[in-house]
């Protein structure tokens, strides 16, 4: 009998490959394990397969080969209701926020609960009182308490991304996938946005898999790092091991980190 059992494996990826219909090979034979409560950051050039990897985990993209487990339940091959049940545990935050632009802020937040909502009321944008309360709470947490009725596209980029985080909260997920969550935001807002995601990781114990560009952010928020290059996992380590030499290895010899954050 083992004396100590480490945190459970939240995501297990085995031999994952993705070839898009045009013949573009986005991912080649990825093996990866993400433990519960980790803040895993995925780095790599644009086009290195970061987005595809994240989208394979919740099956927005169907892998060409390989298997993925979410808390020991296989999501590759899951269909219909089972796939939706697994997706409910995985909230996603997108670079372009992907709000329903013509819906109100509140309706956008509430749409996070669609996975458990009853079909008919949800089609008429009706939600249980409990979820509405949660939605207001979530908006309060991201500092948007006073604008629930505003149309989503009337908000600034930073505000829209915070609505997206509130939407993710309403999903009551165990895992958060964040695909370049701050790449479309003003640099001044990036840390404040990342801190919201960090809070979910630290306070709620949510597992986060996040792709990032900015070295500053990578070193500040990651508990572990993996690097992709041309669809292959080329490096894995702790944030403090992410030095200039590794950076060149991952991004190519022409690359230079944008800041002095790197020793």
């Amino acid at each position: 009998m083992p004396g100590f059992v480490g945190p459970a494996v939240a995501i297990r990826v085995e031999g994952l490959s993705k070839v898009f219909p045009g013949g573009v090979r986005a991912l080649s034979d990825i093996d990866l394990e993400v433990r519960e409560g980790e803040f895993l950051v995925v780095v790599g050039l644009s086009g290195s397969g970061k987005s595809t990897l994240l989208r394979c985990i919740n099956r927005l993209v169907d892998p060409t080969a390989g298997r993925i487990w979410i808390f020991q339940r296989e999501i590759t091959g899951a269909q219909g209701a089972e796939l939706r049940r697994l997706r409910r545990q995985i909230a996603m935050i997108f670079q372009q926020f992907n709000l329903v632009r013509r819906h109100s802020v509140l309706d956008n937040v509430l749409s996070g609960s669609l996975g458990r909502a009853r079909l008919l009321p949800s089609l008429f944008l009706r939600y249980p009182a409990e979820d509405r309360r949660l939605a207001h709470e979530a908006l309060e947490r991201v500092g948007l308490r006073d604008r629930p009725a505003a149309r989503a596209d009337a908000l600034s980029g930073g505000q829209q991304q915070r609505v997206a985080i509130a939407r993710a909260l309403l999903q009551k997920p165990k895992i958060i996938l964040a695909d370049e969550p701050v790449a479309s935001l003003d640099p001044a807002l990036r840390h404040s946005l990342m801190r919201h995601i960090e809070a979910l990781n630290r306070d709620e114990g949510l597992t986060v898999v996040c792709s990032l560009h900015d070295v500053d952010l990578v070193k500040r928020y990651a508990t572990r790092l993996v690097a992709l290059r041309e669809g292959r996992l080329v490096w894995e380590g702790q944030p403090d091991q992410f030095d200039r030499r590794t950076y060149r290895e991952i991004y190519g010899t022409d690359a230079e980190p944008a800041s002095n954050a790197m020793a």
Partner: protein
């Protein structure tokens, strides 16, 4: 390895062969067209005469062409071009079906056989069209006087049919409106089946997509006039037959416009809603519908506008509306009364046009 994966590679292989076959077929059609047009032009300018001694007209020449031989030759050429595409450059069929291959993207069209073939094809079509439609510029420019009676009548409208004309005009507008209103729910429902981006999921949905597209294209290909004839024998002469005829045509036309709009939506919100674990209906309601409502409204108003214009013609055969009294006056040569009615239609269409353009501007 999950079972779906083996299937997908086999599908891939299958899809590739199908695409190759398709490009050969498209090439064969294009080359056949070009070959036939060349023969037609050669015969037309060779000075051949019919037994009666007249120069051969385009219709006579169409009877003389060697269809089988040219088609056979075109098929051979198409296969050759596709086989030798490394050497001759991608064929037009290949470019249309699978896109221009990577290594030829940067070659200017003047340096490709495909480019020259395209130009030749367009020129051939133009000159063949000139012959087949019997374009006759001299007559057009010199014989205006024959039509002057009609034009004089049109600009001297008579007041005799004004009252009845206005009444039937009102009927026309409502007829068009009812046809559009009935078309909205049908087209809305069908358009989701006819949108490629929503029907990739399963074999069944792809089949439904193809079936819907095919049926709608067929329905749209049949003129509203023909639908009017069908419905007149079904429900009798009168505006209701016109409503039904325009309805059928509007459903098909709106389905096409709606579904193209659905295909061009931003996939981002769809992904976001899918990621919450929402079901297909919820994804459509949240990810698709909010994005397409404004353009749908705009298309629908435009369709009403078109239906007003079309209902005039529908009236010619008994489908109600102002066309119903226009036809006999045209037949009798009452050009003054025709003028009144045409003027009424013109003013209405003009007003509808302005109003619908304004509303559409505001919506989008």
């Amino acid at each position: 390895m999950p079972r779906g994966i083996e299937l997908s590679t086999r599908d891939d292989h299958w899809a590739k062969s199908m695409a190759r076959l398709k490009s050969v077929a498209v090439d064969a059609v294009l080359l056949t067209g070009a070959g036939l047009m060349i023969e037609l032009l050669v015969v037309a300018f060779s000075g051949r005469r019919s037994p009666a001694g007249m120069l051969l007209g385009a219709e006579d020449i169409l009877d003389l062409l060697h269809y089988a031989w040219i088609t056979a030759g075109a098929v051979v050429l198409a296969i050759l071009w596709n086989l030798l595409s490394g050497w001759l450059g991608a064929s037009p069929g290949r470019a249309l079906v699978r896109g221009i291959p990577e290594r030829e993207r940067d070659i200017p069209w003047t340096h490709t056989l495909r480019g020259w073939f395209t130009i030749l094809f367009i020129e051939l079509t133009f000159f063949t069209g000139w012959l087949i439609t019997e374009v006759d510029l001299p007559t057009f420019l010199t014989k205006f006087s024959k039509a002057s009676d009609i034009v004089r009548g049109l600009v001297h409208p008579s007041g005799a049919v004004l009252h009845q004309g206005v009444l039937l005009l009102v009927q026309t507008i409502f007829l068009a409106f009812m046809a559009t209103a009935f078309a909205i729910p049908a087209a809305f429902a069908i358009s989701f089946l006819a949108a490629r981006n929503l029907t990739r999921g399963s074999a069944l949905s792809r089949l439904l997509y193809t079936a819907t597209r095919t049926v709608m294209n067929l329905v749209r290909a049949v003129e509203p006039l023909v639908w009017a004839l069908i419905f007149i024998s079904w429900v009798g002469i009168g505006p209701f037959a016109g409503v039904l005829a325009l309805w059928v045509h509007s459903v098909a036309a709106l389905t096409k416009l709606y579904s193209e709009q659905i295909e061009s939506i931003d996939p981002g919100p769809v992904e976001a809603i899918m990621a919450t674990g929402a079901s297909t209906l919820q994804v459509i309601r949240y990810g698709v519908v909010p994005q397409v409502i404004p353009p749908f409204l705009s298309f629908t108003i435009y369709r009403w506008d078109i239906n007003v214009r079309m209902s005039t013609i529908i009236g010619f055969v008994g489908g109600g509306g102002i066309g119903y009294i226009l036809k006999p006056r045209v037949d009798l040569g009452e050009w003054g009364e025709v003028g009144t009615l045409v003027l009424l239609i013109a003013v209405t269409v003009w007003l509808m046009d302005i109003v619908s353009a304004r509303i559409r501007e505001r919506i989008v």
